[in-house]
């Protein structure tokens, strides 16, 4: 990852900007949402390998700063939601797309199903990702 940051630095103009936008694992909440409000059924379990990837990305950014390649100017986190009409659709998507990122226990699927079935007719299910955005500026190491 440090090599990639060095390549990015090479192709950027002097004082060019780098924006790092990515989800960060943090036991993302699984919720039922409707016009009457939101209810958290539980949280996903983070799998070890992508957690290690997050940590490696952070280490690479820190190293790029220490080497004087980039300076971190701003950083914020914000929610990013994925919505499905039913828990079944959500489960199919997560099993197919994120099975190497997160795990959701059977008990949580059951709780989600119950919460959704007993909620308002307009209820949907969603997962709240933690997104991080970082603005960095290319530096010229002395």
């Amino acid at each position: 990852m440090v090599h990639a940051l060095n390549e990015i630095r090479r192709v950027l103009v002097k004082s060019g900007s780098l924006i790092d936008l990515r989800p960060v694992l943090d036991r993302w909440p699984i919720e039922v949402t409707s016009k009457s409000g939101n209810h958290e059924a539980g949280r996903a379990t983070d799998l070890p390998e992508p957690v290690a990837d997050d940590e490696a990305a952070e280490r690479a950014m820190a190293e790029a700063e220490q080497l004087g390649w980039f300076m971190r100017e701003r950083q914020e986190v914000f929610p990013f939601f994925y919505y499905w009409d039913t828990p079944k659709e959500m489960r199919e998507y997560i099993d197919e797309t994120w099975n190497d990122v997160i795990h959701i226990e059977d008990e949580l699927w059951r709780q989600l199903g119950t919460s959704w079935a007993t909620a308002n007719a307009d209820a949907r299910v969603r997962i709240r990702l933690k997104m991080m955005i970082t603005g960095l500026r290319k530096q010229d190491p002395s």
């Binding site: 990852m1 090599h3 990639a4 390549e7 990015i8 090479r10 192709v11 950027l12 103009v13 002097k14 060019g16 900007s17 780098l18 924006i19 790092d20 936008l21 990515r22 989800p23 990837d53 990305a57 690479a60 701003r74 914020e76 914000f78 929610p79 990013f80 939601f81 994925y82 919505y83 499905w84 009409d85 659709e89 199919e92 998507y93 197919e96 997104m131 955005i133 603005g135």
Partner: protein, 98 residues
């Protein structure tokens, strides 16, 4: 299986606060199917999206609006070996890619 992503458009709001892309040459690393690209491409001077996944790049190219064909290109490339000359871009975006 229908999924809806970020109907609140929170990502777009934050992204625009971080990136003034007007008239800039932009490199998007991990462009995927172009979902993020279409949020900003109109204001940029030129956009180069790279990704390793051929299927995603094919979708991005198919979805590319006709009025952006002249300034948005998608290339299969790895961030460790960027096939571009020194100082080719004003802004680089790591898009869900680290």
């Amino acid at each position: 299986m229908t999924v809806q992503t970020d109907p609140e458009r929170t990502e777009s709001k934050y992204f625009k606060r971080y990136a003034d892309l007007a008239g800039k040459r932009v490199l998007e690393i991990g462009c995927g199917d172009g979902r993020l690209t279409w949020l900003y491409a109109k204001s940029a001077a030129r956009v180069t999206g790279i990704d390793l996944h051929r299927d995603d790049l094919r979708v991005a190219t198919i979805d590319r609006p006709a009025d952006l064909e002249h300034k948005v290109v998608f290339i299969r490339a790895d961030s460790i070996h960027l096939p571009f000359a020194k100082e080719s871009f004003d802004i680089a975006i790591l898009a869900w890619s680290f």
